[in-house]
């Protein structure tokens, strides 16, 4: 499933515009310890994090995450959105909690991938 389709189905707002939304999202990874994310997230994961600082873009780029998902309506810094957009990484904003995102995403993509 493409990131932009995922965002639409999940009712998420794409903060970074359309660019990057053509990546395939194949899973979800939820964690806020950046070193842990670096070594455990997989290419194609939608990465759920409460962090909104600039380094999120670097971690998403290095792990080849499909997109960054910021839960619970947390405001994302403008500089981070700009940086991510430059790197072709979508940042999706959701009003849901990480748990709810994981649950719904699993129903949407997890069962298809399994």
């Amino acid at each position: 499933m493409k990131v932009k389709e995922f965002a639409q189905s999940m009712g998420m707002k794409v903060l970074t515009g359309e660019d990057g939304g053509d990546k395939d999202i194949t899973g979800i990874y939820a964690c806020d310890l950046l070193s842990w994310v670096m070594s455990h997230a997989c290419k194609g994961d939608g990465w759920i994090t409460v962090h909104t600082h600039l380094n999120v873009a670097a971690v998403a780029l290095l792990t080849e995450a499909a997109c960054v998902i910021v839960p619970e309506g947390i405001a994302v810094e403008e500089a981070t959105v700009k940086k991510a957009a430059e790197e072709g990484i979508s940042i999706l904003s959701s009003g849901l909690s990480s748990y709810e995102i994981c649950y719904r995403a699993h129903r949407l993509i997890g069962e298809n991938e399994a």
Binding site: L34, S35, H51, L54, N55, A58
Partner: protein, 141 residues
């Protein structure tokens, strides 16, 4: 013919806005060179951790990367405080990072263990009060 590629980066200290940019740039270069994704991942993670350490702990430093047909050699050099107890620093979960750094998601005590895990060869030359040089090698072949 010498097919070696060398890259050089200045890593500013305590500036999280650019932390990880050198690693991202190296990753892009390796991708352009057509290196296998698994190899790139190893090099990128090991270098990112080393880069973040230079930003957090050392007040900045420099990175020199050399890529040839056989290996990627990544060297990060700083004139920071050095690592007093390297054995402790290598333990997963051990960290001397400040609370403010931890709140950003860094300082989980996984930097050096991650470097060891993803580098094929890791050499840490550190002197308290003088600085640290980390040399990471990832083999392409």
């Amino acid at each position: 013919m010498d097919n070696r590629i060398t890259l050089h980066y200045i890593i500013p200290g305590d500036d999280f806005s650019v932390a990880g940019e050198a690693s991202s740039s190296v990753k892009k270069t390796l991708t352009h060179l057509g290196i296998l994704p698994g190899i790139i991942k190893k090099a990128a993670i090991a270098m990112y951790e080393a880069e973040i350490n230079v930003v957090i702990h050392a007040g900045g430093g420099e990175a020199d990367i050399s890529i040839d047909a056989e290996k990627v050699t990544i060297q990060l050099k700083d004139q920071g405080p050095g690592i007093p107890d390297l054995e402790m620093a290598m333990r997963e979960g051990y960290s001397t990072a400040s609370d403010s750094v931890r709140e950003m998601g860094f300082g989980a005590g996984m930097g050096l263990p991650n470097m060891k895990r993803y580098a094929d060869s890791l050499d840490i030359d550190t002197t308290v009060g003088k600085g640290t040089t980390v040399t990471i090698i990832v083999y392409i072949k």
